[in-house]
C-alpha cells in the first residue's frame, strides 16, 4: 500500500489559484509533460513550500507500446519527480504511439500474453530510470481488442506483481468501461491486488449518442462515487484525487465535489 495522501485535485495552470486557496486539498497531481524539467510554476512552488505532495502523472510514456521505450520521456518524468521531491510517479496501462503515428490519447493494449510481456519489459526499463515507485493506471477504452487471453483484473495483477509497481485505480475509467464495453467493475475491484493501491482517480464525463465519454470536463456522476464506495468497502485508499481538465466550474462546485469524495472515503 502506498503512503497516506488524503483527498486531492489535479493541478492545472488554469485553476492554479483555485487549488492554492481551496480548503481540504491534501495533495495534488500534475501532468508531467506540462512541466519544465528545470523549474516549477510559482503555484507549485507555493504548494510544495506548504509541504503538500505534488505527484507527477505522465500521459505519454506509451508503456504498452511495442516499439522501443522512449527513454527521453521517462527521463523527463524522473527529472520532474526530482524537482518535486515526489514520493511516486504514474502513467497508464496503454499505448499512444505505433507505426510512426501518435494517437494523442490513451489507447488500450490487447489483453494477451504477448502484450503483457511488452508491458513488463517497458515498465521494468522505465523503473530502472525512474528510481522511485511507479503506479500504473487502468484506462477508459471505447474499443476492445479481439481475442483477449486474460481478464482486465488478471492482466493488471500480473503486470504490477511482476514489475513490483503500485496501482492507480481510476474508478471513473471503470465506470466508463462498464457503460461502453459492458465490463464488470465489481469483478475488476475483486480481482485487483488492492494491497498495492497508491491512490484513486475520480472524474466526471458525459454521455453522447449512447457512448459515455470520460471527459474530465463535467460533473462526477453518482455511479462513479458509488464505485469509489465499492472500492472503500474493500480497502481504505491512501489517497483519492479529482481530475478536472476543462470547462472549469465555480470554485465552490469543485470544493463540493471534493467534499463528496471525502464523505465517501470517511463514511
Amino acid at each position: 500500500m502506498g503512503e497516506h495522501l488524503g483527498v486531492g485535485i489535479g493541478w492545472r495552470s488554469e485553476i492554479d489559484l483555485t487549488v492554492e486557496r481551496m480548503q481540504g486539498v491534501d495533495f495534488v497531481e500534475v501532468v508531467a509533460e506540462n512541466i519544465h524539467r528545470d523549474h516549477l510554476p510559482e503555484s507549485l512552488r507555493v504548494l510544495r513550500a506548504r509541504g503538500l505532495p505534488v505527484l507527477p502523472h505522465a500521459v505519454s510514456l506509451s508503456l504498452g507500446g511495442a516499439e522501443p521505450l522512449d527513454t527521453d520521456r521517462v527521463e523527463h518524468l524522473a527529472a520532474v519527480a526530482d524537482l518535486l521531491d515526489a514520493p511516486l510517479v504514474s502513467d497508464h496501462v496503454c499505448f499512444v504511439r505505433a507505426g510512426g503515428l501518435d494517437s494523442g490519447h490513451l489507447m488500450p493494449v490487447p489483453r494477451t500474453r504477448d502484450a503483457l510481456e511488452v508491458l513488463v519489459a517497458n515498465v521494468t526499463e522505465a523503473r530502472s530510470i525512474l528510481g522511485r515507485p511507479l503506479a500504473l493506471e487502468n484506462i477508459a477504452a471505447l474499443l476492445e481488442w479481439p481475442d483477449a487471453e486474460l481478464t482486465e483484473a488478471r492482466f493488471l495483477r500480473e503486470l504490477v506483481e511482476r514489475t513490483d509497481c503500485l496501482l492507480l485505480v481510476d474508478v471513473a475509467n471503470m465506470w466508463a468501461n462498464a457503460k461502453n464495453l459492458g465490463a464488470d467493475p465489481v469483478a475488476l475491484l475483486d480481482g485487483l491486488p488492492l494491497e498495492r493501491l497508491a491512490y484513486v482517480h475520480v472524474a466526471g464525463g458525459m454521455e453522447v449518442d449512447g457512448v459515455y465519454h470520460d471527459t474530465h470536463a463535467h460533473a462526477v456522476p453518482q455511479g462513479v462515487l458509488d464505485l469509489l464506495g465499492e472500492l472503500c468497502d474493500r480497502v481504505r485508499p491512501p489517497g483519492v484525487l479529482l481530475e478536472r481538465d476543462d470547462h472549469y466550474p465555480a470554485d465552490t462546485v469543485l470544493a463540493d465535489e471534493l467534499a463528496a469524495i471525502r464523505a465517501v472515503v470517511d463514511r
Partner: protein, 110 residues
C-alpha cells in the same frame, strides 16, 4: 507472436483510427468509427485552444475542414500539438480556405 507482431497490430489499429485505413480483422467497425471520432474531437479541441484565430476565421467550416486535414495528416510520433496547429493553419491557406495575407510575420511558427 512477437514484439514485432504486437507493434504491427498496434500500428494497424492507429492507421485505422487516425488515417482512415481498413479496420483490422476482429474489431467492430462501428466502434472503431466512434474511437476515430473521439480522437479527432480531442485533437480538434487542442488545436482550437492553441490557435483560436484560425478556428474562428473558418467559423462553421472549422470542424469539417479540420476533419479533412486530419485524415490526410495523422499526427506523427514525436510531433507537437503546436506544430499540428501551425500545419493546419498552413493547410487552410494552401487549400484556399483562408487568405495568405492573414498570416502575420509575428505569428510565424519556427
Amino acid at each position: 507472436m512477437s514484439r514485432d507482431d504486437v507493434a504491427a497490430a498496434q500500428g494497424a489499429l492507429l492507421r485505422a483510427v487516425l488515417a482512415g485505413a481498413d479496420v483490422p480483422p476482429g474489431f467492430d467497425p462501428e466502434v472503431v468509427r466512434v474511437e476515430a471520432a473521439a480522437l479527432l474531437g480531442k485533437r480538434r479541441r487542442i488545436v482550437r485552444d492553441i490557435d483560436p484565430e484560425t478556428a474562428d476565421a473558418l467559423g462553421d467550416r472549422f470542424a469539417e475542414l479540420f476533419a479533412e486535414y486530419a485524415r490526410g495528416n495523422p499526427r506523427r510520433s514525436g510531433s507537437r500539438f503546436r506544430e499540428d496547429a501551425a500545419a493546419f493553419a498552413e493547410w487552410a491557406v494552401e487549400h484556399g480556405h483562408l487568405p495568405r495575407a492573414r498570416r502575420r510575420w509575428w505569428r510565424k511558427e519556427r
